[in-house]
């Protein structure tokens, strides 16, 4: 647990970057600091490992006051990941990862073995071990940065916009892997971003800061989207928050409709005969995993992968209401494809069914929570 106890930072030029911050980052959870540029996120983060010294207040890690500890020792026990990765250009990937273990006096062999293990952990081939950072892509460098921070298995990790310098596709991938990794490791993480979507996706709890380093709201993502405390937070969490909030609600069991399905290589006549008047037919593979929709009226010859309509998203039976609604809305047949956990086709839903489910969930929630107590 990391606890900010009325922590303030005033820079020598008089800028108050953080003003009386009171906040707790619980053990084993991801706490995201988010807010507009210059609101003091980086300053708050860097005060935890004393890269910046607070002007007043204290920061506790578990029951230790960080100001009483030797700064270098403190930092060796805290993973630190920054935006530009900050890899050492003169050291190989393995040597970079082994930095903290070597500082802690591990022997070379053990440190290298650990480095190789971590390379795999963050999804890089161990053949990268003897490369130099300049031979890696931005996304790969960032992975090495994460591996390096994890090397000595610190219980606490600080991450300052670690994924913001890579393109959106890679970012998404890195975020997913990061969540998977955290699922295994359960570190106490403080994560800084200016991207509210990233905050909502990654955070177990999200702290929204306003300029001057004041805490506007700290809450679980769903709560933040559903119940912003004021206009500032509401504005900051942005548009579509009703829709995005669905991303935190597990889909209830809905009645799924069966579909006539076709296979690649089926002839157009076969497909038309099976479909009757229905203009779209779902194509599945040998394992009954959905491949896409085919337009029954337009298909000629045989069903090939070129004629498949792939625009529709696929929801999982244990996915969220947002996944389900999106599957229905994106399907050319207007029927959203739902699959089982193993990816096999389970059935389809219509948008109005999902909306009905949303309605009844909300009605149930309102009944459980009397009016007036909704704000907190």
């Amino acid at each position: 647990m990391i606890r900010f106890d009325s922590v303030s930072k005033e820079y020598p030029d008089g800028t108050v970057a953080v003003g009386g911050l009171e906040m707790t980052a619980p053990t084993g959870k991801i706490t995201v600091l988010v807010g507009p540029s210059g609101c003091g996120k980086t300053t708050s983060l860097r005060m935890i490992n004393r890269m910046i010294e607070p002007t007043s207040g204290r920061i506790w890690i578990d029951d230790r006051d960080t100001t009483t500890m030797d700064a270098a020792e403190l930092r060796r026990g805290i993973g630190y990941v920054i935006q530009q990765a900050g890899l050492f250009p003169h050291r190989t990937v393995a040597a970079n990862i082994a930095t903290v273990p070597m500082l802690l006096g591990w022997d070379r062999k053990k440190a290298r073995a650990r480095a190789l293990e971590l390379l795999e952990r963050v999804g890089l081939p161990t053949s990268f071990a003897d490369r130099y950072p300049s031979q890696l892509s931005g996304g790969q460098q960032q992975r090495v940065g994460v591996a390096r921070a994890l090397a000595a298995d610190p219980p606490v990790m600080l991450m300052d916009e670690p994924f913001s310098a890579v393109d959106p596709v890679v970012r998404d991938q890195l975020q997913d892997e990061f969540l998977r990794l955290q699922g295994d490791l359960g570190k106490t993480i403080v994560f800084v971003t200016h991207d509210i979507d990233e905050a909502i996706k990654l955070g177990d709890q999200v702290a929204v800061l306003r300029v001057g380093g004041k805490l506007a709201q700290i809450a679980e993502p769903a709560r933040l989207l559903g119940h912003p405390v004021d206009d500032f937070v509401a504005d900051f969490v942005g548009r579509d928050r009703g829709y995005r909030g669905l991303g935190f609600q597990r889909a209830p069991k809905l009645p799924l409709a069966a579909e006539t399905t076709a296979r690649l290589g089926d002839s157009a006549e076969q497909v038309r005969a099976a479909a009757g008047t229905e203009p779209w037919t779902l194509v599945v593979d040998e394992g009954r995993r959905p491949l896409g929709w085919v337009n029954t009226e337009q298909v000629a010859g045989t069903v090939s992968s070129e004629v498949l309509h792939r625009g529709g998203t696929v929801a999982s039976t244990n996915g969220t209401l947002r996944n389900l609604l999106d599957a229905a809305l994106s399907s050319p047949a207007r029927r959203g494809v739902v699959v089982d956990e193993d990816g096999t086709f389970a059935g389809t839903v219509l948008a109005h069914q999902v909306l009905d489910a949303i309605e009844s969930e909300r009605a149930a929630a309102a009944a459980a929570q009397p009016a007036g107590s909704a704000a907190r």
């Binding site: 060796r76 920054i82 990765a85 900050g86 050492f88 903290v100 003897d130 130099y132 300049s134 921070a149």
Partner: protein, 246 residues
């Protein structure tokens, strides 16, 4: 050109106290001692200034001003100042070394300072953030990353010092400058030209040695030379490095 060849191929010029090998040895000794003194002063100072950011002003201005000092003038002043306090050869050798060292300090200082200054700020931040102490950051990150510029400072100082060490002869000392001074006295242009050629050749040879040392000292991660593993070092010719740094 013929005069030079004739002079250089005359075996009489290659033997004894005034022979070419002995002159080269003297020349190299003055240069090496001056460079070592300059490096001992300038490298730590440059690293310190780069690391702490203190005294940037000093480095930029003093280094600039020192470059403008005329070597020959400084040599005569030094001989006048220091000469009477020293005895024997030292009366001339010490002033000469001082002048050469003064000449060598600015490029080495600027190289060491700029090398550390230009280290990627995020690498430095990460080093500190992972728990390296000040000296560890300097020795394990800043110094290795600064090596290319430290070498380039050393090499440009070396070229200057080797070329300028000819002034030793003007105060009666040895070195390749003797060929120039003595040649001038007897109007032996072959000897003078041969002296100039030898100085240039020596400077290039020393630079080549530095280039080789640099290849081994500087991490391939900084030069981008090596691609995969430690063993697959390509055999690029050393002269490619020689041209890149003046």
């Amino acid at each position: 050109m013929n005069l030079v060849l004739t002079w250089l191929t005359d075996p009489a010029h290659w033997a004894g106290e005034d022979g070419v090998p002995h002159r080269i040895l003297e020349h190299l000794t003055y240069s090496a001692v001056a460079l070592v003194i300059a490096a001992i002063i300038a490298i730590p100072l440059g690293l310190y200034v780069g690391h702490t950011g203190r005294g940037k002003f000093l480095v930029v201005n003093v280094a600039g001003a020192a470059r403008a000092i005329p070597s020959l003038g400084l040599l005569f002043i030094m001989v006048l100042l220091l000469g009477p306090r020293l005895s024997g050869d030292a009366a001339f050798v010490v002033p000469c070394l001082v002048v050469l060292a003064v000449l060598a300090v600015p490029p080495i200082l600027a190289g060491a300072y700029a090398g550390v200054e230009e280290v990627d700020a995020s690498a430095r931040d990460a080093a500190k953030g992972m728990g390296m102490r000040g000296l560890q950051v300097l020795l394990e990150v800043e110094l290795p990353c600064a090596l290319p510029l430290i070498f380039s400072g050393l090499r440009s100082a070396t070229l200057q010092v080797v070329a300028t060490a000819t002034i030793a002869a003007t105060v009666g000392l040895g070195g390749l400058g003797r060929l120039l001074i003595d040649g001038l006295a007897v109007r032996d242009f072959g000897q003078m030209a041969a002296g100039a050629v030898l100085v240039a050749a020596l400077a290039l040879a020393v630079d080549l040695i530095f280039a080789l040392v640099q290849r081994y000292a500087v991490s391939a991660g900084l030069t981008g030379r090596r691609t995969a593993s430690r063993r697959s070092r390509p055999k690029a010719s050393a002269d490619s490095t020689l041209i890149t740094i003046s």
